[in-house]
């Protein structure tokens, strides 16, 4: 039992005891005042309020303790994600500084340091993106985007970044790519995060299918399906919470900040869309679907015209 579990158990027990005390006092009150109606009714109402207050208080307390725990997990994960690439880069820089190293090795070391810098950059980006999506006021700069082209670009980048064969991630898109209205960079972040997760939780055997579909005339789906470790049913919603990471024995070697899916959800909502996860259970892979409103084809032209007008008359925008 961790300290937090103990704290939760303590407060829940305290709440139960206080509620029990209040209930027995209430029963006593009912007996004493059984003949006069006014104190009886007033007393019962007051006791009901006290009991309800106790329960609400305890529930909030327990939720707060749990949030604190997620926050600690996050700090630990981010500390690790920030310090590890820095430690690695320092190690190689000091090696280069203090030893005679042949040219080939030197190039190897540069490549390793570049990869570390990329990893650091990625973590910083995630943290900043999560911070930005916490601020609701930030408006999305929208432009029409070809969902198929977006998916294709993300798949290409993911294959390169994870050094995968072309067959590891397949792509299935309709010939005429459906158009969505949104911020190209943010939507690319969504698909990239989903793809990174799919690769990360595939335990080396990466077989990911990306598809773009139009399930209803006004809806576009971008789906990322993997055959990896899968997700337990009760985790399917929680994984989108900020800082949340699934705690399981065989997942502990998978590093992350617990921000990726939170960012995905925030961006999806800012685009009036949603994202959801499906899985048949542990070991059976998972499917993530990004659902966005489809931009009607006839609406594309005016929107583009609007964008052009804005570009040619920047002072009008103000």
């Amino acid at each position: 039992m961790t300290r937090r579990q103990k704290a939760i158990a303590f407060f829940v027990t305290l709440c139960v005891l206080l509620v029990a005390a209040a209930v027995s006092l209430n029963i006593g009150w009912v007996f004493i005042n059984s003949r006069s109606l006014a104190p009886l009714v007033l007393g019962v109402i007051s006791f009901a309020l006290i009991i309800a207050g106790l329960i609400v208080y305890t529930v909030f307390l327990v939720l707060e303790i749990k949030r604190n725990e997620d926050h600690d997990t996050f700090i630990n994960a981010v500390t690790h994600e920030l310090k590890t690439p820095i430690a690695s880069m320092r190690l190689y820089l000091q090696t280069l500084q203090s030893r005679d190293i042949d040219e080939q090795r030197r190039q190897e070391f540069y490549a390793i340091m570049l990869a570390d810098a990329d990893r650091l950059h990625h973590t910083v980006d995630q943290v900043l993106a999560a911070g930005a999506s916490g601020q609701k006021a930030k408006a999305v700069i929208r432009s029409p985007i070809d969902a198929s082209a977006l998916a294709r670009d993300c798949v290409r980048l993911a294959l390169a970044r994870h050094h995968l064969d072309a067959g590891a991630i397949t792509l299935d898109t309709p010939a005429d790519g459906p158009t969505v209205n949104g911020d190209a960079e943010q939507l690319a972040t969504v698909v990239t995060n989903l793809l990174d997760n799919a690769v990360k939780y595939s335990a080396g055997n990466v077989r990911v299918a990306v598809s773009v579909a139009v399930p209803a005339p006004d809806t576009v789906w971008i789906r990322v399906q993997d055959r990896g470790m899968g997700i337990a049913p009760k985790q399917l919603k929680r994984i989108f919470k900020r800082f949340y990471r699934v705690q399981a024995r065989d997942l502990r070697n998978i590093k992350g900040t617990g921000l990726g899916l939170y960012i995905v959800r925030s961006i999806a909502r800012a685009h009036n869309g949603r994202v959801f996860a499906q899985s048949e259970g542990l070991g059976r892979g998972a499917t993530f679907t990004l659902e966005l409103p489809r931009l009607a084809t006839d609406a594309v032209t005016p929107a583009e015209g609007q964008a052009d007008a804005d570009a040619s008359h920047p002072e009008v925008v103000k």
Binding site: H80, K83, L91
Partner: protein
């Protein structure tokens, strides 16, 4: 040639360490997780002179690996690497049986110096069983005797009633400090700061676990200690002749 086992799941750091240790003339191996390190040391019985142990490992973490090694009687000198670097982590590492620690990111030259320091201790232990006279690169034997017990700070061993116990560097330093201040009360805070160089604000109760272990080595009845007394409200006092 000395054999160093690096237990580190971050491949870049593991490779960088291996490269440097090999450049220093050591024979370096890498284990990517705790289970494989335990297998190499306890099952395959691979000869290892120094262990470099990361704390955040997949599966069994560094603390678990260190305490399982000690429980199995394997006292390979261990240098812990920790990214969190909090004093609580460091103390937990010492309790688990680590001999030294470095926070990440570390200074390469310091890491190599620490590894060489641990290797030196290892050599003294191997070539100079307690009681034998020192050779040229061995310091003078540093032995303290009281009430039929012998504390050998060079070989890092305790002998009491025909039984010997190996000490970790941390236990050894703590005993030496208590002996130096024999018959005087020593505060927990002083132990943390002067013996282990840890900052203030650390939970000083962590020391109690060390004291419990030391009592098991030197006391007849660890529950009613005679030599290592608790001074209520202050800390501890070592009394060689109670």
């Amino acid at each position: 040639m000395s054999r160093v086992l690096i237990v580190e799941d971050e491949q870049h750091i593991a490779d960088g360490l291996r490269f440097n240790l090999e450049a220093e003339g050591h024979d370096a191996m890498v284990a990517p997780d705790g289970e494989s390190a335990l297998r190499m040391l306890l099952v395959e019985r691979q000869p290892v002179d120094v262990l470099i142990l990361d704390i955040m490992l997949p599966g069994k973490d560094g603390f678990t690996v260190a305490s399982e090694l000690r429980a199995a009687g394997e006292y390979v000198p261990t240098l812990m690497l920790t990214a969190r670097g909090s004093a609580e982590d460091v103390l937990r590492g010492f309790e688990a049986g680590a001999d030294d620690y470095l926070p990440k990111p570390f200074e390469l030259s310091i890491l190599i110096a620490r590894v060489n320091g641990l290797l030196r201790r290892r050599r003294w232990n191997e070539h100079d069983p307690p009681g034998s006279s020192g050779t040229s690169d061995t310091p003078a034997p540093d032995v303290y005797t009281f009430a039929g017990r012998t504390l050998d700070f060079t070989a890092m061993q305790v002998h009491a009633h025909d039984k010997s116990h190996r000490l970790t560097v941390m236990e050894c330093d703590l005993l030496r400090y208590l002996v130096k201040n024999a018959n005087q009360p020593v505060s927990r805070r002083a132990i943390l700061q002067e013996v282990w160089g840890l900052p203030e604000g650390v939970d000083t109760r962590a020391i109690d676990n060390f004291i419990v272990r030391l009592r098991r080595y030197i006391e007849d009845g660890p529950a009613a200690p005679k030599f290592l007394q608790t001074v209520r409200g202050v800390g501890y006092r070592f009394v060689p002749r109670p």
